[in-house]
Symmetry: C2
Subunit: 413 residues, 2 copies
């Protein structure tokens, strides 16, 4: 939007000038209208407010998934750094976003425990809290890119391609503290996490994750959880696939085996080439994505540009991101920006002197376990063409000679 607007002399005389803040010099015919932009140093500005708003020039927003609107994607191409503003954090829900009154909220923990207990929100908040900056990614993220080059949609942005990942500072109570209080039995190896949404989303989680770093989160980026993130409380499992981080959590049941719920049998398992399926594949492996240059950007000229993007892993810290500008022939180590936090988006940057020729740019992350993000072919060899979820293969963008950028590589001639 431009502040430099043309207005007729009549409107000026009618007093619109002050409102528009424009200086207008117009002939009677209007044919020689000229305008000058507002000079913000000559106009008293807007005063302080209870809640800030974005500049009207900024149109950043999520994209809900087509007609079902059961998910929405974070605009990764519009973001820098690692924090995702809460109103842009991706969504995924199976029965819509429930309206929950926090006054009536409670969490039941029962099953193989000494003392079953019901916690109100106030009781949860009275436990010593923990805040952690961590990514959350849907395990189906990037499915559109897991196709042979000839079948792939090229005009995808980072948001379209991989927008089901975001990073927030999450605050809550360590689940271990609650498990200690209720006295979880030594034989209890799994727990069911159950939501109070219309889908009654349920997942089985290993108890070991509770003793590690699971939490019942009630805070996001300082304030209360957003409704679409599980308000007033959710399970948060750093590094685990999104769907296991059960939102609007109302019940936890301890057991010595998994529960075999719909969302861990019919869905959220990974079909393999031999006809079997990999189940309980919780951890999100190392992955990275270039967010600039990326579709729909068009580079205006050859010369120096900075390739940047995000890398993350559910297994700890990212230790290295390599970037190729020649389709994987050679790789260059990118700079990782501080802070490099475990199980968190990490920003990488690499200056690139573009020669103006068509170039295929790619990024490849390595985590602290030594694991490196596989190529599409390597992943397909192991998982087969029909697999679902956990698409962490290397992504590519094609920068064409006119500076425009398309997702993926050109199909074989």
């Amino acid at each position: 939007m431009s502040k430099s607007k043309k207005v007729s002399r009549r409107k000026v005389l009618a007093g619109a000038a002050a409102a528009l803040g424009s200086a207008v010099f117009s002939g009677e015919s209007g044919a020689q209208e000229t305008t000058a932009p507002v000079d913000p140093t000559k106009v008293q500005g807007r005063l302080a407010s209870e809640l800030g708003q974005r500049s009207p020039h900024e149109k950043v927003q999520r994209i809900p998934y087509r007609s079902t609107r059961t998910s929405s994607h974070t605009p990764l191409q519009d973001l820098d750094g690692i924090i995702t503003p809460s109103d842009l954090h991706f969504e995924r829900h199976h029965g819509g976003i429930p309206e929950i009154d926090p006054e009536g909220y409670s969490l039941l923990i029962h099953g193989m425990v000494d003392k079953p207990k019901i916690y109100t929100l106030a009781e949860l908040k009275r436990f010593p809290a923990r805040s952690r900056i961590r990514f959350l990614e849907c395990s189906g993220n990037g499915g559109r890119s897991y196709r042979p080059p000839e079948d792939r949609q090229r005009e995808m942005t980072p948001q379209h391609a991989d927008g089901l990942t975001s990073t927030s500072e999450w605050t809550g109570v360590p689940l271990a503290n609650l498990f200690e209080e209720v006295g979880v039995h030594a034989e209890a190896t799994w727990f069911l996490a159950e939501a109070m949404d219309a889908a009654i989303m349920t997942r089985s989680i290993p108890v070991s994750k509770a003793w590690d770093d699971a939490m019942i989160a009630y805070g996001q980026n300082g304030e209360a959880l957003r409704p679409e993130q599980g308000y007033p409380a959710r399970l948060f499992l750093p590094g685990f696939e999104g769907s296991s981080n059960v939102k609007w959590i109302r019940r936890i049941e301890l057991s010595d085996r998994p529960f075999g719920s719909r969302e861990e049998t019919a869905k959220y398992t990974d079909p393999l080439p031999d006809g079997t399926a990999r189940s309980f594949s919780f951890v999100m492996d190392a992955k990275s994505l270039i967010t600039f240059p990326a579709h729909p950007v068009q580079l205006s000229e050859k010369g120096w540009w900075t390739i940047t993007g995000i890398a993350w892993t559910g297994r700890g810290k990212i230790v290295r991101v390599d970037v190729s500008t020649d389709g994987g022939e050679s790789w260059h180590q990118a700079e990782l920006e501080e802070p490099v936090l475990p199980k968190c988006h990490t920003r990488f940057r690499l200056p690139w002197n573009w020669d103006g020729k068509e170039s295929v740019i790619m990024s490849r992350a390595t985590d602290e376990t030594g694991y490196t993000q596989p190529s599409l072919q390597e992943l397909m060899d192991v998982r087969g063409p029909g697999t679902r979820y956990h698409y962490n293969h290397v992504r590519a963008w094609t920068v064409r000679a006119d500076g425009s950028v398309l997702f993926g590589i050109d199909p074989p001639a």
Copy 2:
């Protein structure tokens, strides 16, 4: 707000039941109406959206300063962790918030340089970027607490008392890169930073800060700067008093001396007891604030509670926060939450077993230079009762026997 609403039978028959989602059992007279809360598992929830909204149960907001509305305070008592959501970041402006079209924006750098240059926003963004999670604090923050106990307002929240500090992830170009390109002269020791707001805010800054960590920031918490934070670009000086971080920056002039602008002579200097004033007191010294328990919270019972708050320093990292629950007689080291970042809010926590008696709780921060936050008396001895700005003395809260909390300590009997 409660979801459990009473409705008449007539309204139910008229079809309101589905909209309200309530189960209603009513006698003809309506005298025996009973209601059941909505069961969110029985109702399809709201679908995905372009921009998220807070739960209607959450009323978190800034408080604009009285009638002038030239500032607004961050609701520190409602926040946990370290990140401040951008729409809750404190504001301070001297001529209101200008409306700036980013297409017409430019930054001029001139004066004692080899090649004066004008940068468009696109040109600034083409430089390699840097993102840093850093606090920003107004140097006048906490002035209301710099009074003898008998004059002090007791019913202040953390927001009222010290809400002019916030933390964001800031993205921009290091000013050093721009200074290298224009060729700043070796004799240039100061630069003027000038805003394009109605106040034409100007401040003189030492060039050494540019070679250290100053940046021209255009990003905040991933997205574009908010209008009240300098959209589309501001000077960001990690650790320096807020007013020197000139927003809506349009001009930088290099010189071999400071410029003596209004906002560094008539204001933003610190009067001393001998009648002189301390000028160019840029760096914000170590400070801390307990955000829970704090007014208007009322502890419901004696027993275990977690004292928590934030600590920060413009001189690097916080290395230690001590908490007293007996008015400064004894101190206990609080836990510092990771990540502990330089020039950034750091969250501290300390479990406290409250015995139900009136208690004065205080926090005291130490930074990596070895400097420890002074007491009010120590600060007054050095700066005198009439000083302004840089009020980093130790704060106290009085927890009364009924669990209510007041700012400060009881006045002398």
